[in-house]
Symmetry: C2
Subunit: 362 residues, 2 copies
């Protein structure tokens, strides 16, 4: 059996979780849900599936030290800091180069750092089958999340006929990737039963993704080749990235490869999944009182319902008579926002970052 | 001209201004409006009308040290701490005893500690005339506040015929004191032009209030006499109050005297007045931005209107997309409450005071 690797993409800004999230401490580095940072949970979730030395994290230089801190179980050299963000195709390309350097016969999974999945066993089962599919033939495997509602905030995967049965699970051909739909289209997708949410989880062999890059983004591939050659020559990784990374084409892996490739297959998730896109989503993962209030830490609600109040110990944060508010206090900032206006938090973060007095809070 | 005294009643609990107000630091000790505590402003407002040595403050023992601290311009012996609260008739009786001890011929005013009046000149003008009226004949003078709207939260004074013209101002007989009316009755009161808000400001001579106590609350009067005798014998004030104050009848000055006496007169206020009963009233005294938000300190509102945000420097408190909220942060507690629910803050304070973990915050 070829070596299996997992490469976690951990580059998000997470301004939607202000004031807990900051530029240097985005969502994946915070215990937004659970007791450990989401990234730590993502690594822990892989325990038993792949050994720690086969798990890599691609983050940015600013967050690299913090990532090392929350992932002490990984070898330090497995945590790579991009000198500059070049979108997901470049990150996948870098992952391909780094995995190929270790084992050109390997398969690897690309996973987001900041999604919440409680059912680790179910997750590992699907991922194991995905690896097996990618080892069977040079396909590009993507995990489809069975939609729970007609979401307009996710891209969709249109499933085709069964491609193969692997480990007793159906693996389907992919007819098309669909961008975020309007409400009507989303409803149609969900009703048809042929569509999955695209969670950005991909599994493939080095050979399969190498062939796809060669075919669909030859210039990017050539630039990645230069990086591979320099590394093979023994040059220092950080120095090579510093010199060459900023010249890579900035394009998403979806546009660059997934939407064009004909050998894409998908599998239906058999685990819970939540990308926890903003504060209102957090409430789903904590117990609520009878009135539907979720309180964490030194928090109290008197005569209100549906609120989320997060307040570190030692300072009481109390709501009186309000409904459906998000109230989050940290050591240096407090946010009050109706759940329905959570998408506007980034406007506040923009304003704070433009404010001489407060920009250190972003 | 007889000596004039002012006795300020400063015993409020101010739970409605939590988290700024606490048991030992109620509203009158806080700069809720303006730069100085409301009590300090009340004392300062008398400058030029009566000398500092003629201003007394009746507070409770718990707050006595704090009152001394915010009123350094007053002789310490003029700040008296009740060992236990016995309502306003007892406080007026104690004031009568203390003023009479200094000058039995004196007149004195009883004033609340925690009202906001910006027009000190207008206030002194009315108070001067009230003193003159009380010196002219043994009447009980009360200041009537010209109502700005049909308030249901105040008692009303029903004005009768003119009793006299003093210093060019009309002084009216009082037909009746009316308790807090329902909305319909309040509207009728205001429309008639014959009703004033009762602000709890009284001016009288020692002789006049002595006669009223003798007639209407003889038992309370007898108990006050005992205190007077002990003080005349040179006993220590605190010791005398400790021994005797708790036995005084607990009744308001309105029930005990004002509603029964036939020699009550009133004058119409010629100054701004606000008893600042709760957080929403605070906004009236500070400049608002274009959207009607009042922000004090490190506070910001992004896309909301009509909010009050108070946050001491060094910690940013921000509202996103919410309207008409009160958000108040102190060093150890933060409150979030819709303006329309401000009357429920005392429920929260009750709950906190019953909570082992948080009762120190009340």
């Amino acid at each position: 059996m070829p070596n299996r690797y997992v490469v976690i993409m951990a580059g998000g800004k997470g301004e939607r979780f202000w004031p807990q999230s900051r530029l240097k401490r985005p969502k994946q580095l915070l215990p937004i849900v659970g007791d450990a940072p989401l990234l730590t949970q993502t690594v822990t979730r892989l325990e038993g599936l792949v050994p720690a030395e086969n798990i890599l994290i691609i983050t940015n230089q600013e967050q690299q030290a913090a990532v090392e801190e929350v992932c002490p179980m990984l070898p330090k050299e497995n945590i790579i800091g991009e000198p500059v963000g070049r979108d997901t195709a470049a990150a996948v390309g870098l992952a391909m180069v780094l995995v190929a350097q270790r084992d050109p016969q390997a398969t690897f999974a690309m996973l987001p750092a900041d999604h919440v999945i409680h059912d680790a066993e179910g997750f590992q089962g699907i991922l194991g089958t995905a690896f097996a599919a990618a080892e069977k033939e040079p396909v590009l495997v993507t995990i489809g999340i069975k939609p729970e509602f007609a979401a307009t905030g996710y891209g969709y995967i249109h499933r085709g006929d069964e491609w193969a049965n692997v480990d007793g699970r159906s693996v389907y051909q992919v007819k098309a990737f669909k961008e975020k739909p309007d409400a009507e289209t989303a409803a149609r997708y969900v009703e048809s039963g042929e569509y999955y949410w695209n969670a950005g989880m991909f599994i493939w062999s080095v050979a399969a993704i190498d062939a796809a890059f060669t075919e669909f983004v030859p210039e990017l591939y050539a630039a990645l080749e230069k990086i591979a050659v320099a590394l093979k020559a023994g040059e220092n990784l950080d120095a090579v990235l510093e010199a060459q990374y900023s010249s890579l084409e900035k394009i998403s892996i979806d546009y660059a490869v997934m939407e064009k490739a004909r050998n894409v297959v998908t599998m239906e998730s058999a685990f819970d999944w939540d990308d926890v896109g903003a504060w209102p989503a957090v409430a789903r993962h904590f117990p609520a009182d009878e009135a539907g209030n979720v309180t964490r830490g030194a928090a109290m609600v008197e005569g209100g319902s549906g609120n989320i109040v997060i307040s570190p110990d030692g300072h009481l944060t109390a709501i009186v008579g309000a409904d459906d508010l998000i109230v989050v206090r940290t050591a240096d900032a407090t946010l009050v926002c109706p759940k329905s206006k959570a998408q506007d938090i980034k406007k506040l973060v923009k304003r704070i970052s433009d404010d001489e007095q407060w920009k250190t809070l972003t």
